[in-house]
Symmetry: C2
Subunit: 550 residues, 2 copies
C-alpha cells in the first residue's frame, strides 16, 4: 500500500514516531516487542566497518531510548497487550546485490546523482524476523534510522502497537541539508558531531558548513595556516586538518556529505589579518557603507595576485573534504568597497576590465581550481541573478534572499537548493544584534516556525522542467546570536520539519505532523539532543487537543 502523506495522516496511530514519514508505508495494529535476545544481523559478506558500527549504534538506541509513547497514560493501558505480544527475534540487513559492496561513507560523499537512499523494511507481527533490504549500504543506514523510531518503552519492554510494518521508502529530493555558520561564533567539534548524529536521525544528508566568514577563520588550511593563526578567535577555536577529517569521517559514516563554504569575494575581512594585500576595505568604517555587517572587507578580485591566492586557498581547502560540492559563496558583494579601493581601481584600469568582467574572471578561476580538484561549484543566488558571471552548467545555486527569487533562479537553468530566508533561516526573529540600536529588530523577522517551513512548496510557480532543477532544501543557522549554548534548541525540531518536507515531499499537513514531531522531540532528548518544546506537555500527550479549533 502506497499512501500519500496527506492521506496517510488520517490512518496513523496516535503513538507513531516515524520522522520523516516514509513515502510508502503500511501499518498493522498488532502489538510486538523486541525479544530479550533481539539482534541485528548483517547478511553481507565482508560488511563495511561503518555499517557494522551503524548497527551497533542502532542497537544502542534501541536499548537506551526508553521513550514512552506520547499518550496520556504513556502506555500503561497497553501493558497487558505488550505482555502478551509476540516478540521480534531479529532484524536482518541485506543488499539486493553484493557484487560491489561499498561503505556508507563512500556512498554518502559520492556524486548526488548516483546516491541511492531507498530501502524496504518489513517487520512481521508473527514473531518471525524483520528484514531490511536496500541496493546500497546508504539505503540500509536510512532504514536503520527508521527501524529505530518504531519503538516505545513501557517498564522495560520495547514495543510497537503497529505491527506488521511494511515500508518502501525513498526520498522525494536528493539534497536535504542543514547549514551551520561556525565563523560568527565558534562551535566545538563535539557540538558539530552531536548535530551530525541528530541530522542522521531525520535523514538529512548534507552539512553545509559555512566554516569561515569576515569575523573569524577557524579553518586550518594546509599552506595557508596564517589565516587561522591570525584569524581564528583563539588557538583553540580552530578546525585543524585532523579535526576536519574527524568531522567529515563522522558525517560520512552517518550518511552525510559535508559541503564546505569559503565565501568569496565578500565576507572575507578576516583574511586581511594574514594577507592584508588581498583585502579591500578591510575593517573600513562606517562598516555599513562597506558591508552588510561588521567587519567590512572583500577580496581584491581584480588583482591577479589575489586571484592566484584565492585559487590556491580553494584548492588547498578542497583537499580537506571528500565530497563533490564546494561553495564559493558570492553573496552580498559590496560595490562601494571596490569603488573606494585604490588598488582594485588600479587593477581594473591596468587590465581594462570592468568590475563585472573582473568578477567573471575571478569566479571562473575559482571554479576552475575547484574543478581541478574534482569539485562542483555551489554559489549563492546573486551569482546568477545580480551578477553576470560565467558558470559551469552543473553549478548549484542556493536561493537565500527570498523564496520569491526561486522562479528567477530556476529560469537561469541552474540546479537549485531551497534555502530562502523567509522559510528556512533558523536565526530570524531574535531581535537586532547590532550594538547601540535598542529598537532594532531581526532583519528577517518573524521567527520561522516549523509549521511555516513545513508548508513550503518546492515547485511553486515552476514549470515541470524547472521543477527538475530543484535538488532539495535546507535549514540554515547563521550564528550572530547563536553558539553551542543554544544550538540544539534553535535547530531542533525545526530542521527536522524541513528534513521531512524534502524527504517525504511537500503537501504534508501540520496537524497530522505535530504528534509525530512531538515524539521526535522527545526521542531527540532521550538521545542527548536538547530539542525545543513545541507545546505544553499536556498538548503533546493529547494529539489535536491544542489545535486552534479543538
Amino acid at each position: 500500500m502506497k499512501l500519500s502523506l496527506l492521506g496517510l495522516s488520517a490512518v496513523l496511530p496516535s503513538a507513531f514516531a516515524l520522522w520523516p514519514l516514509p513515502t510508502g508505508l503500511s501499518l498493522g495494529t498488532t502489538p510486538l516487542t523486541l525479544a530479550k535476545g533481539f539482534d541485528i544481523k548483517i547478511s553481507i559478506h565482508n560488511a563495511p566497518a561503518d555499517l557494522v558500527a551503524a548497527v551497533q549504534r542502532a542497537k544502542g538506541y534501541l536499548a537506551n531510548d526508553k521513550l514512552q509513547a506520547l499518550v496520556i497514560d504513556r502506555g500503561a493501558s497497553s501493558a497487558g497487550a505488550i505482555a502478551k505480544a509476540k516478540s521480534l527475534p531479529s532484524l536482518t540487513l541485506s543488499l539486493a546485490s553484493t557484487a560491489n559492496v561499498t561503505s556508507i561513507s563512500e556512498e554518502a560523499v559520492a556524486p548526488i546523482e548516483s546516491r541511492v537512499e531507498s530501502y524496504t523494511l518489513t517487520v512481521p507481527a508473527d514473531g518471525s524476523g524483520a528484514v531490511l533490504k536496500a541496493n546500497s549500504t546508504l539505503g540500509l543506514f536510512r532504514g536503520l534510522a527508521t527501524f529505530g523510531q518504531l519503538w516505545y518503552d513501557w517498564e522495560g519492554a520495547t514495543y510497537t502497537l503497529s505491527a506488521p510494518v511494511q515500508i518502501s521508502d525513498s526520498p522525494a529530493y536528493p539534497y536535504r541539508g542543514f547549514m551551520l555558520d561556525t565563523a560568527r561564533n565558534y562551535f566545538p567539534i563535539a557540538d558539530i558531531k552531536r548535530t551530525i548524529d541528530a541530522m542522521s536521525w531525520v535523514k538529512i544528508n548534507t552539512l553545509h558548513w559555512h566554516v569561515v566568514d569576515s569575523q573569524s577563520f577557524p579553518l586550518v588550511v594546509p599552506g595557508y595556516t596564517e589565516l587561522s593563526e591570525k584569524g581564528a578567535y583563539s588557538a583553540s577555536k580552530v578546525y585543524s586538518p585532523s579535526d576536519v577529517k574527524d568531522i567529515v569521517t563522522y558525517a560520512a559514516a552517518r550518511g552525510i556529505d559535508v559541503l564546505p563554504e569559503i565565501d568569496t569575494p565578500g565576507h572575507t575581512s578576516v583574511i586581511s589579518k594574514a594577507f592584508p594585500e588581498h583585502v579591500a576595505c578591510a575593517e573600513a568604517t562606517p562598516w555599513a557603507s562597506f558591508a552588510n555587517e561588521p567587519p567590512a572587507g572583500q577580496l581584491r578580485l581584480a588583482s591577479e595576485a589575489t586571484v592566484n591566492f584565492t585559487t590556491g586557498l580553494l584548492k588547498a581547502a578542497a583537499g580537506l573534504f571528500p565530497g563533490k560540492f564546494f561553495s564559493t559563496g558570492g553573496d552580498e558583494i559590496n560595490a562601494n568597497c571596490y569603488t573606494q579601493d585604490n588598488a582594485t581601481q588600479a587593477s581594473l584600469a591596468a587590465s581594462g576590465q570592468t568590475f563585472a568582467q573582473a568578477l567573471d574572471t575571478f569566479t571562473q578561476a575559482s571554479h576552475a581550481a575547484l574543478r581541478s580538484e574534482g569539485k562542483t561549484a555551489v554559489v549563492w543566488e546573486e551569482m546568477v541573478l545580480a551578477n553576470n558571471v560565467t558558470l559551469a552548467n552543473d553549478t548549484l545555486v542556493l536561493v537565500w534572499i527570498s523564496s520569491a527569487d526561486v522562479q528567477a533562479v530556476a529560469a537561469t537553468g541552474f540546479r537549485l537548493i531551497h534555502a530562502a530566508s523567509d522559510y528556512f533561516y533558523l536565526d530570524c526573529g531574535h531581535g537586532g544584534w547590532v550594538g547601540n540600536f535598542p529598537t532594532g529588530n531581526s532583519w528577517c523577522d518573524p521567527f520561522k516556525t516549523w509549521q511555516h517551513a513545513y508548508t513550503f512548496d518546492p515547485v511553486a510557480n515552476l514549470t515541470e522542467s524547472q521543477s527538475k532543477l530543484v535538488l532539495g532544501g535546507q535549514s540554515l543557522l547563521w550564528t550572530e546570536q547563536s553558539s553551542a549554548e543554544n544550538l540544539d534548541a534553535t535547530t531542533w525540531p525545526r530542521a527536522a520539519s524541513t528534513a521531512e518536507l524534502f524527504w517525504s515531499g511537500p503537501g504534508g499537513d501540520v496537524d497530522a505532523a505535530l504528534p509525530r514531531l512531538h515524539e521526535e522531540v522527545y526521542r531527540f532528548r532521550q538521545r542527548g539532543v536538547a530539542a525545543n518544546a513545541l507545546q505544553p506537555e499536556w498538548c503533546a500527550l493529547r494529539p489535536g487537543a491544542c489545535d486552534l479549533t479543538a
Copy 2:
C-alpha cells in the same frame, strides 16, 4: 565618587564585567592580582552557616571562573603588568553591627520593606586587604557577588586592571524578579537550582514561581496530594514538600525569596482531575470559547464548597514557603465559562450574588486565608483593573498585559511590579504554538530584546507619589514553548538586563552596557549556565565596533 549610570559609562574600562552596575563606584587603573594564598575572612562572631557557605562558593568561582577579558588579545598585552602587579591577600567581611546577626536566608525572606541589600566594598591597590562591609548578611552576600565579578584570568593569574576599587552599592528597587512557569512544561529541580544560582549572580532577589496551571499540577500540597497525583505530568514530574524545601532553602541561602503562585479562579482546569466538583467548564470545547489556551477550566468561585476548598488549598500551600508574598493570580477570567456552568449559575441564584460579588467574596476569602498564614497577597492586574474586588491595601499587583496599563494600576494606589508582556516576556516571538495553525504567530511578537527591556522607564507617566508604588520588576518565562532544554539560553542574558534596570536604576545606555553584558554572558558560561550569544565573538572582543554607526 557617586556616578550616575549614564555618566559612568564613559569612564568604564573596556574589560570590566560588573553586572548589575553598582550605584556608587570608583575605579583606578592599577593592576592587582589575587595572592596565591588569597582568602576570604568573615570577621563576624558565630557567622551564619549560609554566609560561610556563600564565602566558600565565592572562593570556588574565583578559582574556577578562569574568564579571560573580552579584549582582542584576551589579556596577553597585560601580561607584563599582571606579572609585576601587587597582590591582594584577602577580603574581609564585616557587619556594621553584630548585635543581631541574622542569616542570609532569614533576611532574604523577610518582608521586602525590611530587607537591607546595600554594602560597601573597598579593594585597595597597594597590597593591603580588601574590605566588604554591610548592615546585613544579605548585603554582604550582594557584595560577594560583586567582588566575584572583578576578576579575569590570564595564564593562571587572577587579576583586575582597575584597582583601587571603591563601591558603595544599593538597589534602586527592592523587588527584582524572575518568573518561571513550571506547569506548561515541567522543570527538574537541578535546572531550577542552576537558575537560582544565576539569578543570585545578578542580584535578582525573587523567584516568582508560577508552579501550577491548567495543564499540570506538579506541586505536592499536604492534604491535597490528589492534585499532583492526578494532575502532574507523571509521578516523577512533581515538587514534593521536601523538594520545595530544598528549593526555597537553596534560594534563600542565595538571597532569593520565592513568591509562589497558585493562579485562581482561572487557570485551574487540572484541579478537575482530582476534584471535578470544583471546576467549571473543565476541558470544555471548543477551548477558545472557554479559555485563552487549552484546556479550559475555572474554579466554581460562587460555590461555598469551592471557596472552602480553595482557602484550604492556599493555606496548605502557603505553609511550604517561608516568604511573605503569595500570588493568587486572578488573570484571564473567562466569563462564558461561568455563564455556561449550571452549577455556578445555581450558586449565584441561591446566594443572590452577582458574579462580581461572588468573585469579591472568593477573593476576600482566599486572601484572608493567606493573611492568616502571614502572607501578603499578590495578584495580576485584572484584579484591580477589570474586576471590582476588595483587596487589602498591601496587595501587590503584577502588571502583565501591557506597560500601557501601569498608570491605571498605579492610580488604584496599590503597589506594583513591572512584568509587562511588551517588555519583559521572554517567551514572545517564537511563533504560534497552537496546533493546526501554520500561519500563527506569537501573540506578543516580536521577541523582547535585552536592549528593549533595558530602556524601560519604571516611572513613565507616574506622579511622584505613584512612583513610590513601584516595587520593581521582573522578566517572565511562560513555558508553552520552553523546557529545561532552552531555559538557560532563553532566560540569559535577557533576565540580567532587567535585573540591572531594577538594581542600578533606569536611564542606562545600551551601548555602554553591551560590553559588560557580553562579559556576563561569558562568565555565566564559565559557571555552567548556557547564556545566549549576543553578537559574533568578533564584536564581543571589540566594544563598539558592531554598533549601528561604528
